[in-house]
């Protein structure tokens, strides 16, 4: 049950990327960002009020963590641009490759307090396979 939820989450992500791309096509890249973050803000605000978590929201949060909201804008913007040019499957496939490889880098060095996980030589064939997968997509798919 919980495993099928993880799979379903993947399906929903693909659907969201498609929907955002369609919005960007209909209203333009910049207005699409406002709508996406505006709707998300309203929904998450309703949830925290419902869960009574609205007090002291910004206390004790290191300032640099707040940059992730700005980076989120970069994410959605790039996703919207890419989906409309190369489709959902390639956008997600290449985005996932970037995530997998940089997660490994973060874990190897323990950046920002991430739990350290050494990148051993034995794991390299796995990462090589992933990069070949990405190369196949870029060279054959995007062209």
């Amino acid at each position: 049950m919980k495993k099928s939820m993880a799979f379903t989450n993947g399906i929903i992500i693909a659907f969201m990327v498609l929907v955002n791309g369609m919005l960007a096509k209909a209203v333009g890249n910049y207005l699409a960002l406002i709508i996406f973050f505006g709707v998300g803000l309203i929904i998450s605000a309703i949830i925290i009020v419902f869960k009574k978590e609205q007090k002291n929201i910004f206390t004790n949060i290191p300032k640099y963590l707040l940059i992730s909201g700005g980076l989120g804008v970069v994410n959605i913007f790039l996703n919207n641009v890419c989906v409309n040019e190369i489709g959902v499957a390639l956008t997600l496939g290449l985005c996932l490759t970037g995530q997998i490889i940089f997660s490994a880098v973060f874990e190897n060095f323990g950046f920002f307090g991430v739990i350290k996980k050494k990148l051993t030589i034995k794991k390299l064939p796995g990462y090589l396979l992933i990069m070949i997968g990405a190369a196949v997509m870029v060279v054959m798919g995007v062209a």
Binding site: K3, M5, A6, F7, N9, I12, I13, A14, F15, V19, M22, L23, G28, L31, I34, I35, F37, G40, I42, I43, A45, I48, K51, E53, I57, Y64, I67, S68, G69, G70, V74, N75, F77, N79, G87, V88, A89, L90, T91, L94, C95, L96, T97, G98, Q99, I100, S103, F112, G113, K123, Y127, L129, I130, I132, A134, A135, M137, M140, G141, V142
Partner: protein, 149 residues
């Protein structure tokens, strides 16, 4: 080619956002983390809009209402993935989510273009195989560590 590289860069940026968000999530809660994200995101999007805005012809019909649901869906994706990771672990959560994304992405492109996207499938299978291989190595390394230590 350029869009492929941009999609890859999106993945790199996502590692930063995921790391930062989960830190806010542990300091506060997942819903507060989502709220802060959308708030700062909206503020940033506003600045971007002021700097680069160009008027375009907005063409929306009433049947297109669902294109506004992205932000709504995003909130639930954050909630679900947090719940799933806590229950089945990062690895299986990632693997199954990757599979779901690639299969659904392929279906969407297939339906929209009428042509089966063969290369994302080949690449996707290689990515999943790579993830399984890394998982096997990690499992063995952990067993070794457990017996040695």
């Amino acid at each position: 080619m350029i869009y492929g590289i941009l999609a890859f860069i999106t993945g790199i940026v996502l590692v930063f956002t995921t790391t930062f968000n989960s830190k806010i999530g542990t300091l506060k809660s997942v819903s507060v983390s989502a709220f802060i994200n959308f708030l700062i995101g909206l503020f940033t999007a506003g600045i971007v809009m002021l700097l680069f805005y160009e008027t375009i012809n907005v063409q929306i019909t009433s049947g297109d209402w669902f294109i506004f649901t992205g932000g709504f869906i995003a909130v639930f994706i954050v909630m679900i993935s947090n719940y799933v990771i806590a229950n089945i672990g990062v690895f299986f959560a990632t693997l199954l989510s990757v599979a779901g994304q690639l299969i659904m992405g392929t279906l969407i492109d297939w339906i929209r273009s009428g042509v089966y996207p063969i290369w994302p499938t080949v690449g996707g299978i290689l990515i999943v195989l790579g993830l399984l291989y890394i998982h096997q190595v990690e499992k063995k390394e952990n067993e070794k560590g457990a017996t040695n230590g």
